[in-house]
Amino acid sequence: MIGLIKKEFLMLKSNIKTLGIIIIIYVLMAIQGSLSISSIPSFLGTLIMVSNFSYDEFNKWDAYLITLPNGRKNSVKARYISTIILNLIITLFVILLGILISLAKSQPIIYKDFLSEMFITFLIAIAMQSFIYPITYKFGMEKSRILIFIFIFAIIAIGSIIIEYVNLKLSSIFINFINNFWSTLIPITVLIILLLSYKISERIYSKKEF
């Protein structure tokens, strides 16, 4: 499996220029103060991993992967582990970048706020990827793009209806509960989403033919 994790990272080469340009633009905008760099992890990891999906599909890698020892079994596992590692690396990189920018601008940052902000974006990244992967495994890159867009739109729509309902109908006890325990609830929810997503992806992949 280590080989397959290595492969995901070696394939970063295909994106290296784009990534460099994105990071430079982000940093410049952050220095100017027009953008917060803490949003980088939530899309950068997704961008990289989705592009790896595309490359694998384009290069017909999966058929070969299955001929390797434990190929079918380890493929999904390796991709999820790589995703978590990649998100961690990006998050740590952005934390470092944040500190450097604050030093360069001689503006002290409130570490507690900055780190919790980074933690949240890390979780958002994981949740987004957990959501995208099973769809991509099931429908392939081409079809899943449209489906992911539809699903995100549906979730936002349903979410806003629920929030409205909660605000209108539910007692303040429930809202207080969420307000007090979000720092525990959100990571646990994301972890459950991640595990569920992994199990679904594994199941889909175990039945796939190439």
Binding site: M1, I2, G3, L4, I5, K6, K7, L10, M11, K13, S14, Y55, D56, F58, N59, K60, W61, A63, Y64, I66, T67, L68, P69, N70, G71, R72, K73, K207, E209, F210
Partner: protein
């Protein structure tokens, strides 16, 4: 003799379009078995079933082990080249070696780099910069560098020039020197099989219509070229199939020596695998 591959009652359907099987096939260790047939005859489907790339009905054993239940152990000893290119284009041969080191227990980095040198492949150039032939050579090098016992190769020599093809065939012949080693390969370049294969398995419309040793095939089968008048004199029972061209008849026969004696005025030529394929598929009966 140990069995390298055993296929029992294999059936694979793609809706109403195509069905492979029932296929029953036994391949003992130590042989090179060539799989031939038209495009769409089911060669790739059979190889993909053996490798569990596709789902199927039936039973497949490799090295006497169930190919699904003991897949991971079995695959440590199989080297594969697929019909389509399959490495991510951005990777270099060095990257592939580094990946395979984390995949195969027996990955032999030195052997891999030796093959790269023999094949004149730059270790640090990306796969996408390679020509079709170079890509094939890299795939072959990768299939051999973990010391497999069984090679499953789908069109391994397509796209290679005659010189490189010769080198590759020599590697396969060298590989098969070990009695435990086996090669199952599909190819359209049937002349390769005439030098290489011990056995020829012929697939047509998803069925095995022919499974014989190369010697039996080349020694026993023949092609009788004759005029329409001579053709009418041939006993129908001696004809497997025939093809009528503008000026002559080509008749596929078996028992070459017996036929030569029986029809002394007619010439029985040696047959090539290509001619056999054409006569068996397109010939009239």
């Amino acid at each position: 003799m140990k069995k390298a591959i055993e296929v029992k009652n294999l059936i694979k359907s793609y809706g109403n379009n195509f069905q492979l099987g029932k296929i029953n096939l036994e391949i003992p260790s130590g042989l090179i078995v060539g799989l031939i047939g038209e495009n769409g005859a089911g060669k790739t489907t059979l190889l993909k079933s053996i490798l569990n790339i596709i789902k199927y009905n039936g039973e497949i054993k490799i090295f006497d082990k169930d190919s699904q239940k003991e897949e991971s152990i079995i695959k440590e000893d199989i080297g594969v080249v697929l019909d389509d290119m399959f490495f991510p284009e951005i990777l270099t041969p060095s990257d592939i070696s580094s990946i395979m080191q984390g995949v195969y227990k027996n990955w032999d980095k030195d052997l891999f780099f030796k093959y790269l040198k023999d094949f004149h492949l730059e270790p640090n150039k990306s796969y996408k910069t390679f020509s079709k032939g170079m890509k094939k050579k890299l795939e072959i090098a990768t299939s051999l560098a973990h010391h497999p016992k069984l090679l499953i190769l789908d069109e391994p020599t397509s796209g290679l020039d005659p010189i490189v093809r010769g080198e590759v065939l020599d590697i396969f012949l060298n590989f098969i020197q070990d009695e435990e080693h086996t090669i199952l390969l599909s190819t359209h370049i049937t002349s390769d099989l005439e030098h290489l294969a011990d056995r020829i398995v012929f697939l047509d419309a998803g069925q095995i219509i022919f499974d014989k040793s190369r010697d039996e095939l080349l020694d026993n089968y023949g092609i009788l070229k004759c005029s329409e008048e001579d053709f009418s004199k041939i006993d129908k029972n001696d004809i497997i199939s025939y093809k009528k061209s503008k000026y002559a008849y080509e008749v596929l026969i078996t028992n070459k020596n017996k036929i030569s004696k029986k029809y002394k005025d007619l010439v029985v030529d040696k047959i090539t695998i290509d001619e056999l394929m054409v006569l068996m598929i397109k010939g009239e009966k």
